[in-house]
Symmetry: C2
Subunit: 701 residues, 2 copies
Amino acid sequence: MGGESGKMYRVVFQPDGRQGMAREGQTVLEVARELGVYIESICGGRQTCGKCRIRVANGRFDTYGLLSTTEHLSPPDAGEQACAERCGLAPDERLGCSARILGDVVIEIPEVSREKRQVIRKDVGSRTLRVNPAVRLYYVEVPEPALEESRGEWERVQEELATHFGLEGVQPDVTVLQEVQRSLREGKRGITLSVRQGREAIRVQPGYHEDIYGMAIDVGTTTMAGHLAHLRTGDVLATVSMMNPQVTYGEDIMSRIAYAMRHPEGRERLHQAILNGLNDLIRQATSDAGITPQDIVEVVLVGNTVMHHLFLGLDPTTLGTAPFTLAIQDAVDIKARDFGLDIAPGGNVHVLPCEAGHVGADNVAVLLAEAPHRVEGEIHLVIDVGTNGEILLGNRESMWVASSPTGPAFEGAQIRHGMRAAAGAIERVRLDPETLEVRFKVIGEARWNTEWPDNALDAFDITARRAGQKQRPTVVKARGICGSGIIEAVAELWRVGALDDSGRFVPGLADETPRFVPEGEKGAFILAWPHETATGQSIVVHSDDIRAVQLAKAALYTGTKLLMKRAGIEHVDRIKLAGGFGSYISPAHALMLGMIPDAALDRVVAVGNAAGDGALMALLDQDAREEARQLARWVTYVGTALEADFQEEFVAALHIPHRHDPFPHLASLLADAEPWRSQRRARVQRASARRSRRRRRRGHT
Amino acid sequence: MGGESGKMYRVVFQPDGRQGMAREGQTVLEVARELGVYIESICGGRQTCGKCRIRVANGRFDTYGLLSTTEHLSPPDAGEQACAERCGLAPDERLGCSARILGDVVIEIPEVSREKRQVIRKDVGSRTLRVNPAVRLYYVEVPEPALEESRGEWERVQEELATHFGLEGVQPDVTVLQEVQRSLREGKRGITLSVRQGREAIRVQPGYHEDIYGMAIDVGTTTMAGHLAHLRTGDVLATVSMMNPQVTYGEDIMSRIAYAMRHPEGRERLHQAILNGLNDLIRQATSDAGITPQDIVEVVLVGNTVMHHLFLGLDPTTLGTAPFTLAIQDAVDIKARDFGLDIAPGGNVHVLPCEAGHVGADNVAVLLAEAPHRVEGEIHLVIDVGTNGEILLGNRESMWVASSPTGPAFEGAQIRHGMRAAAGAIERVRLDPETLEVRFKVIGEARWNTEWPDNALDAFDITARRAGQKQRPTVVKARGICGSGIIEAVAELWRVGALDDSGRFVPGLADETPRFVPEGEKGAFILAWPHETATGQSIVVHSDDIRAVQLAKAALYTGTKLLMKRAGIEHVDRIKLAGGFGSYISPAHALMLGMIPDAALDRVVAVGNAAGDGALMALLDQDAREEARQLARWVTYVGTALEADFQEEFVAALHIPHRHDPFPHLASLLADAEPWRSQRRARVQRASARRSRRRRRRGHT
């Protein structure tokens, strides 16, 4: 088409400024392809998809000295007009596949038509995501074969891909080969191919399609969480999480390794458990989004090194003992069918690389999401809180990383009334310093418990709701405490002076409030009364739970401190608290607990599931995968647990906030509770004095 | 190593003459790698494998002006001496990995150490095979990881492959990743990798190994035949064949397509049947060779287009009706596990390309094996005899190809006592023109039946042999007739005048010999008496069998003739008869039957299973695969069955040798039988005259 007149015009593409000469009558899409400029198009110029939107930099002299006007393109024909209405083109937008060059012109490619475009997702921590997926859709129409045709259907599909999209020699996955004949028949010779990296057709569908989906999943030791995303638009259509089914084989990483070592079928059982879990999670997400697992063409997976090895079917036992050797550090690409995922049969699983024996692909994802390696000047500290905590420290000059065996307390496991961050989990807790009365907020319920209507019905109680009691308002009552809830509960108890610095309930608490139930040296504090819970049983924070939180926060603090020491850094400028287990961690409460180094509150920010978000970035943008590979090799791993002073530091860090370190920024957080706090803490000193006197008397007798 | 002295010497590698400068003290292997000269080595310079043999062009001035002497290499050290003994080095052979450069030197790389070397295989029709396999072995030793090592085991394996073999960035198949840790442990950090095309590790074994196997299989409509080969040495270790298990779903291609179309599960059943058959064949071959199917790392498959589609799981129905469209024409590479073959789990299946809707990968293999496309001047005709016959005609200028639905008669199917070419099958038949006595030879028995000892025991009769009759000599008695046997039997019956030109038994035959058993208009001729057969029943050639042979040979002849007509060729210089069903076809008998155009007997040659041999070539030499892809696109397909004059030609070709065409070269073949032949044929004329008279009389009354 075009070019017969022999006239040539200059065409400039914006924003990248690439330019060249075009023959009169060529379409903008054709010219773009010749100049190596990408304009999105699924149908390859058939006025079907409406994706190849362009604009003319109209009526002005360009920096290139061109007078570019809309008249330098052919006017919209009937086909374009129909498509414009159907696809909702803006008044100044044209279809690149039908607008023909009639004069010098500056063409602007809007963000939405660019190869690598930015979208901002509010549902993913308002992050800016780059959409440049590994798998793209191509619609082709293949003519009926002629009698003397000796080429196969696939060769003719290849020809269409080459002619309309410039893709040469695309190879078919075997499942595509097995389906291509039927698809051509059913699609009346029109098919949509999902092509990976411009090289391999991994799916074929009859007719025209423009939806293509992928999933990014963070496999944590305790929790698995995933985003389901549209690979063309970047839309996140569902965000789901569930318990890692491996939990039945052990709470933490070391117990999983032990299971794999001790049982002859252990490794395979763990592998199968995680596969089943992943398939369940994918089913859940696709069902939420109203699609099927077979609509997913790509999955990006991250996880700590043990999860990484177990979901890949690799032997994790070398990760359990020095020198903690990985089977592979680099990224891995595997056909979904070889991996065992029930997605599109030709689909792909991309596993991000690991950093070291103790720092896995999940931390690489945190790096991608928080990008401390792009920071100039300031020192950033990123703490990923999970059953296995990971700590990143540095900036674009250097990056140090450590891991810290936190235990599952922050994910609601090994806590008496702990639960996953799901509907009914207490996620926020506030204590009145005077009365010790409790306010809490539950996931799935917008109001604090103190705002619930008196006669509210339990949202979980199906029978009661069915029994004609519909007129009563419904409330999601408490079913347990999740990670952010337990952090706040313990921090609040300490803030009001109900806990001493060693984490023990102060004496005389039972006289002050019926919420405290003593139990020898220990005790429990009632957060939710029976009428506030879905189970009809009180929900408490027990001394043992407090101890678990202390162990966990001490592990994180010690890891951070030793990492800073090893890196020779005494002060950090910004602290990011990431956590892949649901609600955001409250920076104030993390500070009070001494989970992180002292800092002004405005320098601490909670960033949610950074690992999951980083995985999403790698799903949507194939360039991010290459960046991840480079980052994984670049960071410096520090084995903090092997440092000589770990044990001593750890014991000191068990105190709230710390036995030795000052936390000057805490003062303001404690101010409002100060009178009652001092009172209760004074009781500790008196009791302590009494104990000393008794000891002295015993010494005398 | 080396290079510290700073002295440089010229090194020339023969036979290809590549040369360059080497530092004093470098090993020959190192220098070769730097210059891009391939020298075989599995252990990468550890004096383990003894494969990197080289010779010094000793004591003479070379064309390069160099005086090259053995003293220009370091003398063999203890390691080389030990290896030389173990591996049987010739006196003038050195190990390239331990011989160091001490002066200018011309190094000769013997055939056995070259990347692409030639071997002549007597067991495969004395063909010259090129050994340049897609998969090669590499032995690496990976040091124990250090404590601060953050790279994974695989990255360190990669480093060894890069250092010792120049292979960069080898990617692991997932099964290799899953096994590499255990292999390193069991092999005490030494492992042997099978690497495909220098890019992908598809198998890992603990310790040092030097054996690597593949299979080449020709899947025919009726018979499947395969070679098991050593991919390093080119040795053929087993040659096996079996009935295609799809035969139960239909005798020929069209009935298979019909089955796939008519039954909802038809295509899948046919697919599964062929997979089971392939796995059985591989088990049989590996068991014969004393290895296991998991030792096979690559399989090359060929077959006609319908077999090709069915074993790939593609829809064959488009091949049944015009325009006979292939799903894919090009070569296909598939992981064995995706294909469904039980070989090494990371292994590969390479399927040669097809030529057109009716000419498949088997014919491409015939092209590779017979190479008519390399012939200059002469015109070659290659006929591949099978249930679906294929005909190649031409030379390096042009190549025409046609297919011809021969039917399964030549493979021993649809013949009363037909059988596959296996032990007990009558493969050779001779008739005494005077007495009509029969001599025959059976597969698995070296002697003709007339040479069998009188008291011979049937080799198949296990019970008789067990019953203390071991002192009696054993003979493999007849169990049926295979393709080459039925061709000879019918041709011989015609040669001696027992059959007339229309294929009917001549009158009065029953009076001449008790071997003829009349049956109305038809009859049967006894080839083997009950005492000569394993079953104790006579083996006969029936009128219906003769008719099947006539139909089959007429299809081949007509196809050939129409192809010659279309190509404008009147005379061929050489005829090759290929057949993938066991024994070689006798050119003389093929000529007598009129299966091929008339030719001097010395211009006709039987080449056996050319398709299977071509597949073997593609298995051993990856360059042959590229050649196959080019050939497949290059040949010109002629749809002979669609030619207007097919039917008329076919009817004329049913006669023996032909109703119209002269076969002057036949005279000499018939000379010795002439007296008796004339006598018997005269009876036909008399009988014919009698019949005419009777008809006339009836006409009168």
